[in-house]
């Protein structure tokens, strides 16, 4: 199932936004009775009908009670299946509920990602929280507010439209009668009313009326982060808990033929489990569990499989195995004729390496069995999905599995799968103790999935006036995110082509868009140069999309593009790039410093403009954009998985270089607040303009076009 999930989320057909594949999942009538941390009792006694769509968009109707619960102290508990992994969903969803309930954000207690308590809001991925879950929470909260207003109106025998709701109190302005949410918390009428479904057409607050949304509300549990009090998945401690370690194969595809477990079994307090290919040890300390695994690893006999390609030959490997592609919907005209007519035609191939997400917290889970019921705390992106995976793995009903996702230590698209959860559950079952499994950094680098490598073949034709008349783009292996060109070209042929990935691959921050936008925006720069045009003017001449034009012009203006373009030297170059994905738009201008003798590319400055509709939390959006820019430097300049014979050669921070403080350039971010469209997510797309803008700046300074990510400065030495 884990592989299915990855295939599904990487598959371009399933990452779209169509409604057709919506499937209803009826859950049996059941009762949730849970004590929350604050000592509040939640009872949800509804037949919950949850909509679940492949790819993570939650649909269908849930009851108001499944989303909103009034507490006696005047606070309101709000429930969501989304997880917090640093992207800011906890603050944002808190704001969404507060806005519609007409209370301050401090009155909301947000319960996230606990299958026993929350509705299924789909996977936390694809920038979907903002366009789908924020509206779902707002509708739930707005429906609750309307129901409460109606109850007050009924009680006072007045027209509900005459009542005002402010700061958690419903008031009749004429009579000055007031009733608070806290007063209504234990009302049987409210309990009855909240059994209704969330209204799909309830009016939500217009952007111009926002009081809580649109503000820089801090993460509600941020104090626990600076005191160390917050318990991440790897920090959960249960009574009599053991720590688990697994035996890993020496290379991908190796199968265990025999192993002698006696040395580990002889160790004090060590539990050893073998089930087919699974070998794990649980012990009172990670150290002891590790010693036990080392002891048995020496006795293991492995059968290795057929030869694996190395990272050096990966691109020819992927191209040789490329399958027939599907043409994109916007394919038009004839590129054959366009290229034949072209005054100038270019043809180049771009290559993008596999990289890792490298979240600071590697995969972690704690599993505990009690009377045939399994509870798992895990760092994963979709609790209901992992709940189902665990139920199938252990042959029990989903009702017997509870998955809780404490706010976790980073993901970036890399934590869709629940390996550690299943490993911990196996060891817990065998040992009769709760078990904590935290992957080592080397395990995370080796056994988690990777951002896909890519080979992207580009052809472009210019007419005698320097206009683009033909565009062919064949993207092999990464997927289809941001594959369509936003530029106006009469003849286009755009293909997303699958291949046989030798490494396990899956989603990443903006997934294939990091590869496809790199190739497109670099190649656009090549065509601009061939046309003898300024890269900014060339893009604008082919760009009708007003949103992209706006961010491009904003970044160029603040960077002072025309003047700095004129000042380019062999040591200092400037470049720009833009793009759109997930209904948001980005443009970046960068300055690089070049040391050709040392083969060094240093990014001195990044000026980026980003627009994702109405901004819901400016401070958090700024963090996301800054983070994307700096994360983008890693993939652009250094990060790549090196592998050979089915082994990862750089599974640690010594050899896999991620951005550090010293790499941080001057960063100038311009958030464009466009209030006449719905909000889109902002945690991914800001990454896609960084790499191509750097490559274009390197070209401007040196005349050398580097057509690979990462861009190795060493190429400049030879040139």
């Amino acid at each position: 199932m884990i592989e299915d999930l990855l295939d599904e989320t990487v598959d371009p057909q399933l990452s779209g936004q169509s409604d057709e594949s919506c499937q209803e999942l009826k859950l049996s009538r059941r009762t949730f009775v849970q004590l929350l941390g604050a000592g509040l009792l939640i009872t949800v006694t509804e037949g919950v009908s949850l909509g679940r769509r492949s790819g993570g968009r939650s649909r269908g109707s849930i009851t108001v009670a499944a989303r909103v619960h009034l507490n006696l102290d005047g606070t309101i508990t709000v429930m969501t299946g989304k997880v917090e992994e640093g992207q800011g969903s906890r603050a944002q969803l808190t704001q969404a509920a507060a806005e519609e309930l007409r209370v301050g954000a401090d009155r909301i207690r947000l319960v996230m990602a606990d299958t026993a308590l929350v509705p299924d809001d789909g996977i936390t991925a694809g920038s979907r929280t903002t366009p789908y879950t924020v509206p779902a929470v707002r509708r739930g909260a707005a429906t609750a507010r309307e129901l409460l207003t109606r109850l007050a109106a009924k009680q006072w025998r007045v027209d509900g439209s005459a009542l005002k709701v402010r700061d958690g109190a419903i008031t009749n302005p004429k009579t000055k009668q007031t009733i608070t949410y806290g007063d209504l918390a234990e009302s049987k009428e409210v309990a009855e009313a909240f059994k209704q479904g969330v209204s799909s057409d309830v009016a939500v607050t217009a952007v111009s009326e926002w009081k809580v949304l649109g503000n820089s509300v801090a993460r509600p549990n941020n104090r626990d982060l600076v005191t160390g009090a917050h318990r991440y998945p790897s920090d959960i401690v249960r009574p009599n808990m053991l720590y688990g370690k697994m035996l890993r194969p020496p290379s991908y595809g190796a199968t265990l033929e025999s192993i002698d477990l006696s040395r580990a079994k002889a160790m004090k307090d060590v539990v050893v489990v073998r089930d087919g290919q699974f070998v794990g040890c649980a012990a009172p300390s990670s150290f002891r569990a590790g010693q036990a695994i080392e002891a048995v690893a020496k006795t293991a006999s492995w059968k290795t499989t057929t030869a694996h390609p190395s990272s050096k030959e990966i691109f020819s490997y992927l191209k040789e195995r490329a399958r027939s592609g599907r043409s994109r919907a916007n394919t038009r005209g004839s590129t054959e004729q366009g290229l034949a007519r072209a005054a100038k035609a270019l043809s180049e191939t771009y290559e993008v390496a596999y990289i890792q997400h490298v979240p600071m917290e590697p995969r972690a889970a704690v599993a505990e069995w009690s009377r045939g019921n399994l509870t798992v705390w895990a760092g994963i992106d979709w609790p209901q999905r992992i709940q189902g995976d665990l139920a199938r793995a252990f042959g029990i009903s989903s009702e017997r599995v509870r998955v809780i996702v404490p706010d976790m230590g980073g993901g970036f698209g890399g934590k869709h799968s629940g390996e550690a959860a299943e490993e911990a559950a196996r060891l817990a079952k065998a040992s009769g103790h709760p078990v904590c499994v935290q992957w080592s950094r080397a395990e995370e680098f080796t056994w988690a999935y990777f951002r896909p490598a890519a080979a992207i073949e580009c052809k472009g034709g210019l007419d005698s006036k320097g206009s683009l008349i033909a565009w062919e783009f064949t993207s092999i292996n990464p997927g289809s995110a941001a594959i369509d060109t936003p530029y106006n070209i009469p003849n286009t042929r755009i293909l997303s082509v699958g291949s046989d990935s030798p490494l396990r691959q899956g989603p990443y921050r903006c997934l294939a868009a990091t590869a496809n936008n790199f190739a497109r925006e670099s190649f656009m720069d090549e065509l601009a140069a061939a046309a003898g045009a300024d890269p900014l003017e060339f893009r604008l001449a082919h760009l009708e999309n007003q949103r992209i034009r706006t961010v491009l012009e904003t970044a160029a203006k603040h960077f002072d593009w025309p003047a700095r373009r004129k000042r380019v030297t062999g040591d200092v170059g400037v470049g720009l790039a833009c793009g759109t994905e997930k209904n948001s738009c980005v443009a970046a201008c960068v300055e690089v410093g070049i040391d050709r003798r040392g083969g060094e590319i240093k990014v001195n400055e990044v000026c980026e403009a980003f627009e994702c509709g109405p901004i819901q939390n400016p401070a958090n959006l700024l963090s996301q954009v800054q983070g994307c820019i700096i994360m983008g430097l890693g993939g652009a300049l250094r990060e790549e998985m090196k592998f050979e014979d089915g082994r990862i050669l750089n599974a640690g921070f010594a050899d896999y270089l991620v951005p550090r403080f010293r790499d941080v350039p001057k960063i100038d971010v311009h958030l464009v607040n466009k209030t006449d469209i719905p909000s889109a997510g902002g945690g991914e797309t800001p990454i896609i303009a960084v790499a191509p803008a750097i490559g274009n700046a390197v070209f401007a300074a040196t005349g050398v076009r580097i057509r690979s990510m990462p861009m190795r400065g060493g190429l400049l030495k030879r040139a």
Binding site: V226, G228, M360, Q624, I629
Partner: protein, 156 residues
């Protein structure tokens, strides 16, 4: 091989009998259940596990327990006094200098150690000192602001 080690953690004296090769990080987390100090790489290359040992920054994943015998360790849990936060913690809160927050305790401990040694660090000194600490959310700009703010606060 088990050994008995005496150490003081956040002012509390502990006698721990366990395998002496275990890292201070593992003992803090698994024996004392002080989970504010995080595992990041196990090799001293990410700074996530930073604590103070006799007032100096150490990377607790690289220190065998035997080397902590007789030492005083301060972890993130030991910075605040009651409800009142350490100025460095306040500065991180005020700057919103965390995204997932998993690196935050290491960043804060590194900052506390830096400001003990250099109350008026230059930007270059801050970057140089903090460079061992990784943030994969790449929230470096706000963390740098927090370190600068903390320096100002502590001079007051």
């Amino acid at each position: 091989m088990d050994a008995t080690v005496n150490l003081t953690v956040n002012g509390v004296k502990w006698t721990v009998t366990t395998d002496a090769e275990r890292s201070v990080l593992e003992v803090l987390r698994e024996e004392l259940h002080l989970t504010g100090t995080k595992y990041g790489c196990g090799g001293g290359r990410c700074g996530t596990c930073a604590v103070l040992m006799d007032g100096k920054r150490v990377l607790s994943c690289t220190i065998p327990l035997s080397e902590a015998d007789g030492k005083a360790i301060t972890t993130i849990e030991g910075l605040a006094s009651g409800d009142s936060l350490h100025p460095v913690q306040e500065a991180f809160l005020e700057e919103g200098a965390m995204q997932c927050g998993y690196c935050t305790s290491g960043m804060i401990m590194a900052t506390v150690a830096l400001l003990k040694e250099k109350p008026r660090p230059t930007d270059e000194e801050i970057v140089s000192w903090m460079n061992v600490n990784l943030c994969r959310c790449n929230g470096y700009p706000k963390i740098l602001n927090a370190v600068r703010r903390a320096a100002e606060k502590m001079r007051r």
